[in-house]
Amino acid sequence: MLIVSTEYADLADLCGRLLVMRRGRREEELAGPMLSERQILALGMELAHANRVATMGQLSASIGHEINQPLSGVVTSAETAMLWLKTGESPNISEALRALARVVRGRRASDVVNRLGALIKRAPPQKDELDVNEAILGVVGLTDGEAVKHHVSVRTQLGERLPLIQGDRVQLQQVTLNLTMNAIEAMSPPDGGPRELLISTVKAEPDSILVAVRDTGPGIDKARLDDIFLAFYTTKPDSLGIGLSICRSIVEAHGGKLWATANTPRGAVFQFMLPITSVHSVFSSPS
């Protein structure tokens, strides 16, 4: 008899059936423990990861399109303004200003992200009873590979006997995944500093659970601690700067808060607080 956590039971079942089909055996022959629990879990993790990667891929393609559209207009209008200013000996200021006015209107690109945030808030949330620690351990499993690759040691300090909360497991896992990947990335530059990631949960007052992701990276400039949650604000060259803004939308949709502070002696701490109170009141149904 195989024992797998309920989270991956469906995936394990799928793995089992796939194996039956591939080997052309009758199902009864699988009654014995052909796969260890560990193997099943690994397969389940892999499938969950593949599924998440596919979803993220679709999501980023569609966000990419939505952003490329206004961005394309902004770039062309800015270039046109420069052309008007560079034209011969008499720059055409009024035409350049008209082109620049179109650039300024392009600020609406940030509407894309606001809409996305609104979408997350509007989407009918799953009101699972969920164990925050279990959800976090699922994410730690997904990020193990990245941590090893970047020589980051990951520790968890999970509070015991935490009450269950009601919320959307996948969304909250996405928040944790995003914060964890950010932390690993922050510690990736080879500056010789320590590379420790600590994920902790604790029961906090009043009636909430506090999740903290601490890294020992270079930390965040104090003056920027609030800005990093703004859409399109980023310190990374290859980033759109929307991850944290979406994370904050998700946490707020759960009636919680997400913020960043400095870690001591170095690094950053991202914390989110989730209320234990019944989510029925928080997720008031949009009538």
């Binding site: 559209q69 206004p70 961005l71 394309s72 207009g73 902004v74 209008s77 046109t80 035409e95 609406r108």
Partner: protein, 132 residues
């Protein structure tokens, strides 16, 4: 320029910011510009008979850029066409170029490439009245 009419460029895009931005650039190049929010609107306009170049978005509701191009050909208009996409895709690109589209660009596009494409479109424009 009293004797010579400016070439007319038709821009078809459902996104206002892209439409206006390209129109602005075409104006700097010295062309006459008309903009359309959909392929259907352009097909119904008298401009279809007099445009020197069509710059169209690839993905639009109702009728796509490539459908517009094929429809123009069916109607006998061999207007040099530049297609711009926000979903770059090799297969779609090959298909469009094989069908006779002059240039296939991805958003955000390089202005110099677009300018080169438009200039070559205007230069290769068939004489008025010529049908393909």
């Amino acid at each position: 320029m009293p004797s010579k009419m400016k070439p007319l460029i038709a821009i078809v895009d459902d996104d206002e910011s892209v439409r206006d931005a390209i129109a602005g650039l075409m104006k700097w190049l010295g062309f006459e510009v008309h903009t359309f929010v959909s392929a259907v609107e352009f097909l119904a306009s008298p401009d279809i008979g007099v445009s020197s170049c069509v710059i169209t978005d690839a993905q639009m509701p109702q009728m796509t850029g490539i459908e517009l191009y094929k429809r123009m050909r069916e109607l006998g208009h061999a207007i040099p066409t530049i297609m711009i996409t926000a979903y770059p895709n090799e297969a779609a690109r090959d298909h469009a170029l094989a069908a006779g589209v002059l240039c296939y660009l991805s958003k955000p596009f390089d202005k110099d490439t677009l300018i080169d494409c438009v200039r070559s479109a205007v230069n290769r424009e068939p004489a008025k009245g010529q049908r393909c």
